[in-house]
Symmetry: C2
Subunit: 413 residues, 2 copies
């Protein structure tokens, strides 16, 4: 099916989806989960093709692991759908404004319409995205990468057949099977049919979509996160936070990439913490001052400050004061998550108010930036932009509002 037909059908389906009750959507999610369990064999078989192809292309073992499915991973995809069914429906909630002229204005939450998801690698994104879009009453158009096309086809076909059983309209869930560059470009220009695009993947993908799309975009998931250790910090706490932020899961967007340290404590703090990080196989790249205090590590370049490593690498900089730390973060960061470790009330306040990022922490690890950890129940991504949604995006962030105005003949003077 060509892209325009997919868009048109998705739009038509979205008008029906918007008015389905929560019960119907929840039953569909349960059916979709059931369907994943039932055709597990077919999905694994399709995934095996993708893995084989990736090996032939010489893809790294780490990347192959991201695209590989097994029984446990498919069960976990199904469980996520079941968990979505148990969450409250974001659609239809509202506020009421009563005006002096007798008009009653209901500000009501409605789905966005059609959501396009452009993503790479992990096939579990396929079922997660479909589930979250359906739960929030939206049609979804998926454009995954070529490396997982067989897995994605099998997963989507399974989800569609489950959804159909519960009265979800055709066109509500589509996969663009054409994985050429042209199909992404076309999707990014489909203003008539697509209400929002959510790119999920590396910084270069996100940048390309944001720069070229005429459909509105929500940028997600690029995390060049910082931990700043203030002059007055509890140094044991600071050590535990930076170790957690850097090493607990280095490949995710809320992992820290740069450690900033106040000069007054650098001599005391750095040797111990950098030792501990090196013991955990973290490669260090330091500013001149850091390299002086802790010789033998690589010198950081200008580029390092701006890089999201997504790996066991950490840039380290000694700063004159908190102002330099804040300036550094606002200049090089990606507005995702930053933490200060401090005992000083004024420092905490200054950091919270001046750092221009979605999530700003005092005395906690940046790793908590996550829909689940924030108690949202589901997450489609972490927005690093300011418009529409910022930080972890749950079901509510996939809706908009509509004003319903009830009158009895009012006209305006």
């Amino acid at each position: 099916m060509d892209l325009l037909s997919i868009g048109k059908k998705a739009k038509e389906a979205s008008r029906i989806l918007a008015n389905l009750s929560g019960d119907v959507k929840n039953r569909a999610l349960i059916e979709m989960a059931k369907s994943l369990y039932e055709v597990k064999g077919e999905i694994l078989c399709a995934n095996e093709k993708d893995v084989k192809c990736a090996k032939e292309k010489g893809m790294s073992e780490a990347l192959i692991d991201r695209l590989r499915l097994n029984d446990a991973r498919i069960s976990s995809m199904a469980k996520s759908l079941e968990a979505l069914a148990a969450l409250p429906d974001p659609v239809g909630q509202g506020e009421v404004i009563r005006r002096p002229n007798g008009l009653t204005i209901v500000k009501s939450r409605v789905p966005l319409g059609v959501i396009g998801i452009i993503y790479e690698a992990r096939p579990n994104v396929t079922s997660d995205a479909v589930g979250i879009c359906l739960k929030s009453g939206n049609s979804v158009i998926l454009r995954g990468g070529s490396e997982t096309i067989n897995s994605n086809k099998a997963i989507v076909s399974s989800l569609v057949s489950g959804a159909k059983k519960s009265g979800i309209p055709e066109g509500a869930i589509s996969l663009i099977e054409d994985t050429s560059h042209e199909s992404v470009i076309a999707l990014m220009k489909m203003r008539d049919y697509v209400d929002v695009l959510i790119p999920r993947g590396g910084a270069s993908l996100i940048r390309a979509v944001a720069a070229n799309a005429s459909v509105p975009v929500i940028e997600t998931g690029v995390g060049n996160c910082h931990v700043y250790v203030d002059e007055s910090a509890d140094l044991e706490m600071a050590k535990s936070i930076i170790i957690n932020a850097k090493t607990s899961r280095p490949s995710v967007c809320n992992a820290a990439e740069t450690l900033l340290v106040h000069k007054a404590i650098a001599d005391r703090f750095l040797p111990d913490v950098l030792n501990a990080l090196q013991e955990r196989e973290v490669e260090l790249r330091g500013c001149p001052k850091t390299c002086q205090i802790y010789p033998g590590i690589k010198q950081a370049s200008e580029e390092d400050w701006a890089t999201e490593y997504l790996d066991l690498i950490l840039a380290v900089k000694v700063v004159e004061n908190i102002d330099e730390a804040i300036e550094h973060i606002n200049r090089y960061g990606s507005s995702h998550s930053e933490a200060i470790v401090t005992k000083n009330y004024d420092s905490a306040n200054k950091f919270l108010s001046r750092v221009d990022s979605a999530c700003v922490y005092v005395n906690a690890s940046t790793r908590f930036t996550d829909g689940g950890e924030f108690g949202f129940g589901a997450e489609i991504g972490i927005s690093t932009q300011k418009l529409h949604a910022r930080g972890p995006m749950g079901l509510k962030e996939l809706t908009t509002v509509k004003y319903l105005i009830f009158g009895d003949g009012q006209v305006r003077e």
Copy 2:
């Protein structure tokens, strides 16, 4: 000053503005109003230049009237600033989430940062936009049209001098004095310095900005609005609503442009209402059925259904049923404001849930779509998009959220 310097200064100023107290911002608004009164003479003199130039260029009297200032109009600009000072500050309001691990998450409202406004004609937009952006803690970069450049320069210079007296940082309020096409293009690409663009003006301006900007855009104010008169309508009420929606102020975005009438009442309803509209100098353009019932009017073309006249012209169509009316609106409308006139509960429900517009009315005029009429106190425009804001945009819509997370050493397992 070149555009990049303006952007950079605006960004720097926005970081200070974001942390100013409501008191400081309110005092600035009062000072700005005072300043407008004080230099009224200079503003009128600059405006006279613009009017003279417009006359030389042969601009229509209607357009010249839109750009002309006088004592009353300047006073009204000043009063709007004073009224803003009296509104509550949208910044710093928040919700609190307490997590089981002891983290306290504050979802706090913060300014967007730097707002670019691209607009045409009316110089009152200049002071309104500056006031609303300042009140919501944002820097503003104005790019008005060449036809009002002298008025805009005088107004902005007056506002800046008032703002300065109350500690508003330099760079918070800027006017791009270069009115070439290149300056708009450059502004639309300034992703590093501008957080959002709000174009205010005709459909072609809005479309051009939305299609070409890499800075996020909020589309406002294109209103191809509809009134649908259902089979069961109170016909006197329907008549009063369409007359109000079309004729009370035809040049604004919430005026109706198309009347849709159920075929079962077309014979009874149309002759009387179309007579009344013609008496009010409305030019009518009808579908074949309308022309049959009410001969002597122009036939509507396909283009008419999609046109925002902003004038005393009305397209009229007889529809088979409510479904055709809804389909017509979703196809040709601009998702602004639509009204149904009906006594039937099911028709009202269907119209409210299926029409995909920002504001949907039952038994009231579309003319109420307005920040003031909705009780918001201030309005920067009416969003016809779904992302970020929809419908009348007040102060809150010029803010975003920031998560502030308070811990005592939490790390993630």
